[in-house]
């Protein structure tokens, strides 16, 4: 369920104040009841609540999948705009998070495809990762927590795109194997098998960056 929009968020702020009019002209200094013109627009407030609840995970997926903060910010913007335009198509037969992830994945894959075509970059042979020797059970140790993001990004960058995506999705506790399977168009058993290999590949690569 979407949480209410926090006061002070961009969405709440937008609805409380008509464009190009200073705040002091629309609200009494002592803060009185809002006028009819200040009544919040339900559609933006509702969407604001959706943004508040899911933006962190959508941005994180875009960030680690694309590996570039600026691209991730643009992608997150585009994803929420697409979601807003398609809100009428959301039938509620999947969770809102899953629906947003689907838009994000398609958007990011398109971006990567365009980027790869432009730069003529080929992914390493995925079969190389089948032989990763690290155990996925071994604990991962980091000395400096502030370096965690950089090391994770470096590690994800060299993993096959599918492994990267599966690991990022399974890290979200709201996502079940079945939902991930639907999102990635494969069976839940296939997801489990690939995740096992993805974890091993991640650990093997992560340890190289120690």
């Amino acid at each position: 369920m979407a949480k209410p929009v926090e006061a002070g968020s961009a969405f709440a702020f937008d609805e409380a104040r008509p464009k190009a009019v200073p705040d002091s002209t629309t609200r009494p200094a002592g803060g009185g009841p809002p006028s009819i013109g200040d009544q919040p627009n339900w559609r933006s407030l509702e969407f604001g609540a959706i943004y508040e609840e899911h933006s962190r995970q959508i941005f994180y997926l875009a960030l680690r999948f694309l590996g570039d903060p600026t691209q991730a910010e643009d992608a997150t913007h585009d994803v929420f705009l697409k979601a807003y335009r398609k809100l009428g198509e959301f039938r509620g037969d999947s969770a809102m998070r899953t629906w947003l992830y689907r838009i994000t994945i398609n958007h990011c894959k398109n971006l990567l495809q365009t980027w790869h075509q432009r730069h003529m970059v080929n992914n390493a042979d995925d079969s190389l990762w089948e032989t990763a020797v690290a155990s996925s059970e071994s604990p991962l140790r980091v000395l400096e927590i502030k370096e965690l993001g950089q090391r994770i990004q470096k590690t994800l960058d060299v993993l096959p795109e599918e492994y990267r995506l599966l690991l990022l999705l399974v890290a979200d506790q709201q996502m079940s194997y079945e939902e991930i399977a639907t999102l990635t168009e494969q069976s839940a058993d296939a997801v489990r098998g690939k995740l096992h290999r993805a974890r091993k590949a991640f650990v093997a690569q992560f340890q190289k960056f120690t």
Binding site: S9, A10, F11, F13, D14, K19, R43, S44, F47, G48, Y51, S55, R56, Q57, F59, Y60, L63, R64, P69, E73, T76, H77, F80, L81, Y84, R85, K86, L87, G88, E89, F90, R91, G92, S136, P139, L140, R141, V142, L143, E144, I145, L148, G149, I152, L167, L168, V170, A171, D172, Q173, A198, R199, F202, V203
Partner: protein, 75 residues
């Protein structure tokens, strides 16, 4: 005390402090997922993004309402 020995002891003491400091900052994750969750929790969405999305949405025409919105509106 021999100055060389004192210096060596001081050096060893400093190294121990450094190592202890590193040990305190170290963090172990039981799984890849746990590590990624910690990373996600530390990742902040750029604050200007909400405003940017809100501005873009303000320029959009009203989207069609979904079946469940229409259904609730009738009740």
């Amino acid at each position: 005390m021999d100055p060389k020995t004192a210096k060596l002891q001081q050096q060893q003491k400093e190294e121990t402090v450094e190592q202890t400091g590193q040990h305190q900052a170290a963090r172990e994750f039981a799984s890849v997922e746990e590590m990624l969750r910690e990373d996600a929790a530390q990742t902040e969405v750029p604050p200007a993004l909400a405003r940017r999305v809100a501005d873009s949405i303000a320029q959009e025409p009203k989207p069609p309402r979904s079946w469940w919105q229409r259904w609730f509106a009738r009740r």
